[in-house]
């Protein structure tokens, strides 16, 4: 049994079945990728896992416990964090504030502590700031803590978004196209970075990605989606060899060309 599983997860929008009976099973401390053409339902699946959408049918299990009916904030408490395809930082907050919002659930003090500026509040906030600084170092943004998030360059915004998700200390991290819009060198760095997340922090990673080089390079398991359905599942080598995948993902002609 994996750390995160879906059993026949289904999500409909009107007549469109965006996610159709999807089963995935992610082993702890693995890097798992979901690929498929645009509009295949990958991001919708992410939204179901983080309970931004409630799955219409099926189950989503974290550590064997169903989570599909929780609210998104509860899911975050349970240990799932995510990034977004089109970066969604709190753009008018500073870099460090962004990370500290991510630490919300690990900052243990209440309304009265805040109001009275109690010693506990000061201690917890100091801890948060220290931890945020550590995360900034981790993503190579040391010294940029006071900038507004919106003023960072693209690559740094992507990394900051990951750092904010890491601040939740998740068990499972969902990354939605982390290398979109990056050049080959940045992509290479990001791959390396993702591997470090798993190796150094022990986080399980679920990835949506288009860049085949990234997908094939770092994932242990891959699920291929098309029209909301899973059409293939396996290791990178198995996927590469699967003619159905080539046809769906790369087009009809590709299958012939590859053949």
């Amino acid at each position: 049994m994996g750390i995160l599983e879906t059993h026949d997860a289904t999500k409909r929008f009107g007549g469109l079945v965006a996610v159709d009976k999807v089963n995935i099973d992610i082993a702890e401390r693995s890097i798992y990728s979901i690929i498929g053409p645009n509009g295949a339902g990958k991001t919708t699946l992410f939204n179901c896992i983080t309970c931004f959408y409630t799955a219409d049918e099926g189950e989503i299990l974290l550590d064997g416990h169903p989570i599909q009916y929780l609210s998104p904030d509860r899911v975050a408490h349970k240990g799932i964090a995510r990034t977004y395809q089109n970066i969604r930082l709190f753009s008018n907050m500073t870099v460090i504030e962004n990370i500290m919002v991510g630490m919300h659930i690990h900052t243990h003090y209440g309304y009265l502590d805040a109001l009275l500026r109690s010693p506990r509040k000061k201690k917890e906030d100091a801890k948060s700031v220290a931890e945020a600084q550590r995360l900034l170092n981790f993503i190579d943004l040391t010294g940029k803590g006071d900038l507004f998030a919106k003023n960072l360059p693209y690559g740094e915004q992507r990394r900051l978004e990951i750092a904010r998700a890491l601040a939740l200390r998740p068990k499972v991290l969902l990354l939605d196209e982390p290398t979109a819009g990056m050049n080959p060198i940045e992509t290479e760095n990001t791959m390396h970075f993702i591997r470090r997340l798993r190796d150094e922090l022990g986080i399980t990673i679920l990835l949506i990605e288009h860049d085949m080089k990234v997908v094939m390079g770092i994932s242990e398991m891959i699920t291929v989606m098309d029209f909301g359905k899973v059409i293939a599942k396996g290791t990178p080598d198995e996927i590469k060899a699967n003619p159905r995948v080539i046809e769906a993902y790369l087009g009809h002609g590709a299958a012939e060309a590859a053949a």
Partner: protein, 564 residues
């Protein structure tokens, strides 16, 4: 451009704009109303100043738009703009003279007084000439201020503005300054001519001096400040505290009254700032909590109803408690609503509360349309707090509490969660933030401060009527937050002084208050959405960026549209 007719050219567009504006200012009654006050005694009243200021402003905008043109051409443009504006006013005067047209039956203010003000009381011949000339000069002045390079241009514009501000508040200066000095500068109404000239040129000289040596002074002061930052800071704190404490003694009873009112709005503003500024929840029913705080004070202390006989201090916590309860109760149904829906529903709530208070149905407990009298005065020891300077201290204490609450919460995980909510509700929730609780906390905290403010308000007035609690109060508070800078605490103070204080000092303004507020809200949103005194962090950031990337600023909206 070349083949367009002159009357459709760009300068004429500005000209027409100026013409329409000044005519409207006249018709709306501001010109006459402000003319009760002199600006430069015997030369120009404030009503007339209003016209010339408008023309100068349009000239300035036009000048900015053609920055690369020669100075002479800009002056010509300014002149044309002034000419058109002047001509429009002359036409207006002539129209009011046509008997069968009877302009006044429609436009209340197309009166003989208006004619008198516009013609400087000199009759149509000389008056028209005067009007035209001064308009042309204003247009030229505005245009030149925009294009003259460097400090001279901005110095001219700024010293004119500062001088005008000083002139508007002559009553205050007169109470502060020694009689002799005041007499030298100011006439019975406004400046006298020498006073005006000296003030204007002194400020101009000062600005020029500052532009030359200011940087050096700042550096040397900065050295001192950076060597002993704490000491400097403490000194500033002590000085401002002393000034704050002595203020009512310095300004006397009338101004204390104004300060009290400003203070009550500051408390409310600090509260609403939590809801709107921090958490981004646009609450237009904010007056409801103010009313609840006030009515709690009234109902529990007024002998007229005879239901309870508590003292001020016993009731104060109840006022706050009931306001908080109402905040939570009203908060629950609107939890799922965003932006404009929230605004209109909270506005509906505010109205419901007001209508309930007014109704016969609740008259036995709330006093109905007649309101309540005999509300308790607070007592401190043996002193009964009743006159404005005494209330000043109570209100000041209230402001300190409100400020403390707002700044403590802002600098906490709750404050950060609110900001995250304001920025992106979905992502905030994905960060594990419980939206329900932080929204309710925002409503409740805001309501508490509003309730506090309402309780003080009721005690200060000693009596009250439901009509004190209209939607206008909500709009006042919202306006002052926006003018000060959404989310900024000092901004609330600046906003309250500007929007609540000024109209009290300039009684002529009061009648046009809502019109000016409305225009200010629109203008701020169009040209300076961050407010007069933005949050420190924001300001730091904006300054750090100046020049470095003009690119960022101008593309920001594009990005928004992309996300939408």
């Amino acid at each position: 451009m070349e083949n367009r007719h002159f009357w459709q050219s760009e300068v004429m567009n500005f000209g027409w704009l100026a013409g329409i504006l000044v005519v409207l200012l006249a018709l709306v009654g501001m010109v006459v109303s402000f003319s009760q006050r002199g600006f430069i005694s015997g030369v120009m009243s404030e009503g007339q100043l209003l016209i010339f200021l408008t023309v100068a402003l349009i000239g300035f905008v036009a000048g900015k738009k053609m920055e690369r043109q020669s100075v002479l051409k800009v002056a010509l443009w300014g002149g044309i703009i002034g000419f058109v504006a002047g001509l429009s006013l002359i036409v207006l005067v002539l129209l009011t003279g046509i008997k069968p047209l009877n302009l006044r039956s429609m436009f209340l203010n197309a009166s003989p007084q208006l004619v008198k003000v516009l013609t400087f009381g000199k009759g149509q011949g000389a008056g028209f000439l005067y009007l035209l000339l001064l308009n042309i000069l204003s247009g030229i002045f505005g245009g030149l201020a925009a294009v003259i390079p460097g400090i001279w241009g901005s110095g001219l514009a700024n010293s004119a503005l500062i001088t005008i501000l000083i002139g508007l508040l002559t009553d205050i200066w007169k109470t502060f300054l020694p009689r002799g000095v005041a007499k030298f500068f100011f006439a019975n109404k406004g400046f006298n001519v020498t006073g005006f000239l000296i003030t204007f040129f002194f400020i101009l000289a000062f600005l020029l001096f500052w532009s030359l040596y200011g940087a050096r002074i700042k550096v040397s002061y900065g050295n001192v400040a950076s060597r002993q930052p704490k000491k400097v800071k403490i000194t500033w704190w002590v000085i401002s505290l002393v000034v704050l404490l002595l203020l009512p003694r310095l300004v006397g009873s009338y101004l204390s009254e104004v300060l009290d009112l400003v203070g009550i709005y500051i408390i409310m503003g600090l509260g609403l700032n939590i809801v709107v500024g921090f958490a981004g929840l646009l609450d237009l029913g904010y007056v409801a909590f103010f009313a609840i705080g006030a009515y709690t004070m009234g109902v529990f202390t007024s002998p007229e109803l005879g239901l309870f006989h508590l003292t001020f201090w016993e009731t104060l916590p109840l006022s706050i408690l009931f306001a908080v309860l109402a905040g939570v109760l009203l908060g629950i149904p609107v939890l799922g609503m965003r932006g404009d829906y929230l605004a209109i529903v909270t506005m509906g709530f505010g109205e419901i509360i007001r209508l309930l208070v007014l109704s016969d149905a609740l008259k036995p407990i709330l006093g109905g349309a007649q309101g309540l009298v005999g509300i308790a005065r607070p007592t401190v020891g043996h002193i009964v707090v009743k006159n404005p300077p005494q209330f000043y201290y109570l209100i000041l204490a209230g402001i300190f509490i409100a400020w403390y609450v707002a700044s403590a919460l802002k600098d906490s995980k709750l404050g950060r969660a609110w900001m995250a909510l304001r920025e992106d509700e979905d992502v905030a929730q994905a960060m594990g933030i419980n939206l329900v609780s932080i929204k309710l906390l925002a409503f409740a905290t805001g309501a508490a401060l509003s309730g506090l403010s309402g309780a003080i308000f009721a005690a200060k007035l000693n009596s009250m009527v439901p009509h004190s609690f209209t939607i206008l109060i909500s709009i006042y508070v919202l306006s002052l937050i926006i003018v000060g800078g959404v989310g900024s605490l000092p901004g609330v103070v600046v906003g309250a002084l500007a929007l609540i204080g000024t109209p009290e000092l300039l009684r002529e303004f009061a009648e046009y208050r809502m019109m000016i507020y409305g225009a200010v809200l629109v203008g701020m949103m169009l040209y300076k959405p961050e407010g007069l005194w933005p949050e420190p962090a924001r300001r730091r950031e904006l300054h750090g960026e100046e020049g470095k990337s003009a690119v960022t600023a101008s593309t920001a909206p594009v990005q928004m549209s992309e996300e939408a």
